[in-house]
Amino acid sequence: MLQGHQTWVFESKPVIIGSAAIGGPFEAQGNLAKDFDLLHGDIWLGQDSYELAERKFLEEACETAIKKAGLKKEDIQFFLSGDLINQIMPSSFTARTLAVPYLGIYGACSSSMEGLSLASLIIDSGFAQTALVGTSSHNAACEKQYRYPTEYGAQKPPTAQWTVTGAGAAVVAKDGEGPHVVASTIGRVIDMGLSDPFNMGAAMAPAAVDTIEAHFRDLNISPSHYDLIATGDLGRVGHRIAADLLTQHGLDIPVEKLTDCGILMYKESQPVLAGGSGCACVATTTFGHLLNRMRKGELNRILIIATGALLSPMSYQQKETIPCIAYAVSIEM
């Protein structure tokens, strides 16, 4: 049901009955290593290209999530997935492997929450009993796609972020045990005129703030409703901007409650510049770390605001600015 301008409230409260996070070697050294279901020692996974390796990550995340939900591949009625590679190749190729009805989505790094919103909508409206959401990113594949191949050794400014290598997936169902998806706020595209692909956090922060404000306005609740509000993946630079903007807009969220998936992911000692990014950043942090904390009873209500920078290599070459989007999903135990 639509509430306010842009928020869906799922009356049947679809359940996340299984979720999985798969990561690479860099994530294994990070803060959230113990919350991954599987961590790989290299980023090739025995494949011939980084893109194929990314597909492998996504396939493993999907398989693990289905297994943890106690289901079989055939029980999944719809698969929704997105990633950052040209024409969302890892997602579509994973859908080929899974061989279930598939909806390919693109929301850049916000794909996980875009997918979770749509999957919850499908379940809530009764169009399916089970849906699978997946998303992936790969550091080397992403650098190649959006910036420079890493072998080229181009310098990066301190505002740049480190793309997470990995994948996250979640099975959403009508009935079952687990955290419930209660509401989703669908963001508007916000473009503040920034064009630096090495400072995505700053470009995405206003989109996150717009969606957070809309969420609280539409549902008529205050930040105290949530135990944790996590944006992703603004990184250190964008997080500070978002926090300042929220305060300016009169929405005071206590410092300990507002966090960012891009900051949570890695240790401060890791050379990730401003923090983590990529589809897999929010996906693995949420579907791994945060849902685990909810299942353990440490968190009851969380709000995840996944942000996406909707630039393309083409728009960058044509000197366009970076349009950004954010989707907020409210999850309750």
Binding site: D42, P149, E151, Q155
Partner: protein, 113 residues
């Protein structure tokens, strides 16, 4: 000491082009090569090398200088066609080395990400 200061200054210019003017690494490199070739054409770059030694001869700007120098030398000997035949004469060692070592690295190594 002079080599350190002049060489360092050229590198600082490159860094400023990237950070200040937001040029891409490729644009920065081309800007330095073209600047070197213009200075070489005006005959100034060799004076800079005499003054600062490796500080001026090691940075990429000297590659531009050498391109122009080779072209001019060959043009004097064989006429206008020399501009085409001489342009890579002095720099051929560098270019060949880049291609051969690049090839060997690509054959022997696998990028780690």
């Amino acid at each position: 000491m002079l080599a350190f200061i002049i060489g360092g200054t050229i590198c600082v210019l490159g860094q400023l082009l990237m950070d200040g003017l937001k040029l891409t690494p490729a644009h920065t490199m081309v800007t330095l090569v073209v600047s070197g070739s213009i200075l070489g054409g005006l005959g100034v770059y060799d004076d800079l090398i005499a003054f600062a030694g490796a500080g001026a001869s090691v940075p990429i700007s000297n590659f531009g200088n050498q391109l122009v120098k080779g072209a001019l030398q060959e043009a004097q000997k064989t006429g206008i066609v020399g501009v085409l035949t001489g342009i890579f004469k002095i720099t051929s060692a560098g270019i060949s080395a880049a291609i051969i070592f690049g090839f060997l690295a690509a054959v022997l190594c696998k990028p780690k990400g």
